[in-house]
Symmetry: C2
Subunit: 356 residues, 2 copies
């Protein structure tokens, strides 16, 4: 069985628990007021209507890999990573002004529409939408911590797990701030992009869940720290693959227009490397399309060609492969439970082979 099948199976089991938990939270909110219930309904929908559950799976299998025996409790702890994801997505979508997420309307946009419908002329709909979005994110953040704090592991492990989770939230904030600045600044270099990846993507997608799983299984600080050799290369490889898919993927598999990344003007490693290695004329062409809101499929094709011609695509692919190999290698020497370790190795492989 490959990582894709592993994940699909895990998602099924996790989502059953997640649904139970969210059902309970909706009932709790309903006791507070119909408006609180409506807000929790939005959190419920967004959380359950999509997501591959990679973060939750990494927490769970890392727990297993580190000899954890209470799988039932670890599964519940893994939900915290999905609520972390919900929290960060809600706030990111406000900042990026995105209206779609996981095939549905984003929460701030839903509330903007609610305001248009119910409070027309009495309030600024966009501000109202953002405000309720900020609150939905804040609540989901509280939930992610609540889930961890409620877990029945040794208190010392739970305390350390919560410390890790909130350090991730701090670094995540810095990463997102740098990302926003990168979109505006014109002097972005490859190092800036790597820094954003290392702060915005790796901690909460790879390093955090893997460490929290290990901590909950009772791994000592040294062992936990050593996991960075697995998580950082893997996380960077994941992001490179994400950027490749954003430029060369298909709309069907991406779930968004293939021109999205180009329109957004995303300064990915792929783009920056191409800009460094192309002719002056090619450079002008890339800059003509990058961040151009009216870029067509033809424009995308032209940029794709330049990225291939400069060798940047091959270079990025090779870089991702090399990084995954480093992750792989770091795992070899670790004494870990076979079931968990096998998953961590398979998922590393999957990260660069996935098509969405």
């Amino acid at each position: 069985m490959g990582a894709k099948e592993d994940l699909a199976k895990f998602k099924k089991i996790l989502d059953r628990e997640l649904k139970k938990y969210l059902d309970l939270k909706v009932r709790e909110a309903a006791k507070v007021s119909p408006h609180a219930k409506e807000l929790m309904d939005h959190i419920y929908d967004l959380t359950l209507r999509g997501g591959k559950r990679i973060r939750a799976a990494l927490l769970f299998y890392s727990y297993v890999a580190h000899g954890g025996k209470n799988k039932k409790e670890a599964l519940l702890a893994a939900m915290s990573m999905e609520m972390a994801e919900t929290y960060l997505l809600i706030h990111d979508d406000i900042m990026d002004n995105d209206n779609l997420r996981r095939g549905g309307t984003t929460i701030h946009e839903s509330y903007r529409l609610i305001a248009e419908d119910r409070f027309k002329g009495k309030t600024n709909s966009s501000s109202f939408g953002s405000s309720l979005g900020i609150l939905a994110g804040d609540i989901a953040c509280g939930m992610s911590n609540e889930i961890l704090a409620e877990r029945n592991f040794k208190s010392e492990f739970v305390k350390r797990a919560l410390l890790e989770m909130n350090r991730i939230y701090i670094i995540e904030g810095y990463g997102q701030a740098l990302d926003i600045l990168s979109e505006i600044r014109e002097d972005v270099i490859i190092d800036d992009v790597i820094k954003v990846h290392e702060m915005k993507t790796v901690p909460y997608t790879f390093d955090g869940p893997i460490k929290i799983g290990a901590i909950l299984a009772g791994a000592d600080d040294k062992k936990v720290k050593a996991l960075e050799k697995y998580s950082y290369p893997l996380g960077t490889a994941f992001q490179i693959q994400d950027d490749i898919l954003g430029m060369f993927g298909s709309e069907e598999k991406l779930g968004k227009p293939v021109t999205s990344d180009l329109k957004e003007g995303k300064k990915t490693l792929l783009i920056l490397d191409a800009l460094e290695n192309c002719t002056e004329k090619q450079r002008e062409t890339i800059l003509l399309y990058l961040g151009n809101k009216r870029v067509s499929l033809r424009g995308l094709e032209i940029v794709r060609k330049i990225i291939i011609q400069t060798g940047s695509l091959e270079k990025s692919k090779k870089m991702a492969d090399d990084l995954v190999k480093r992750s792989y290698k770091s795992m070899q020497g670790m004494k870990l439970n076979k079931e968990g370790k096998d998953f961590l190795l398979r998922i590393a492989d999957y990260m660069v082979k996935r098509e969405y």
Copy 2:
């Protein structure tokens, strides 16, 4: 010594620790990037440039009252309440579109100005300001939890304290959502206002800090729960006094224009009670000024008179007094350390006697 002097003394000691902690965080952020440092500088300034430290003091003295011996560690834990305050203020100010806080520019407004200055024409300054404000709040939230998770108490107590803190954050989110809706809806009744107080003000200002202090001192669930008889009446009294000051206070002591609350159209208990008990003509007068952005001092004087004539001011004052008495009484029966208990009693008294 009265509660005011207690608080001033406590603030001095706490702020020394808070400054040390924030200095460290600024240095940490500087290692990440100059932009991360700039963001942390804003959090630093907002946290240190004001605040009476009531929440931190309540946590600290509740810890002492419940027999806690490690005062040094409790002082550090108390910082978490101030970072919670920073977090909630930053996000509230975005939602309320406020430019001033604690005598300085709010964080989202500062970043709006930064965008105007540095990135003119390249980004929407208001959105940029809000985005960086959201992130500053998110980071401060992570810090509040980090501070608690780092504390050297019995792990089980820290775990329970973190559970309490994040339950506060969830209920706080609901409370703020209801508050935003109250400002828009026209059919707000006294029960709605009390609900907002009970969710938005009481948990994080009174109930939460007092419970967290007790938890960290090792109080059992029953004792912790019993504290609600102290915190809820007190918190509601505090809010009633806040509303009275917002309508009858002086600009000098409030630190904001005396017409602010009236301009905002705040539907306080005071206003709702006056609306219920006034003549039809007086009702029209109140509604003419409530939420009127151009209300003058004369307008305020007219509304003040109606509130006095209807007896609503006296009623509110009496209600606050009665609530404080209930808080007082609940404390009498509790077996608590004298130093801590004395503070909790004095602060209850201060809540209705304060002038700002």
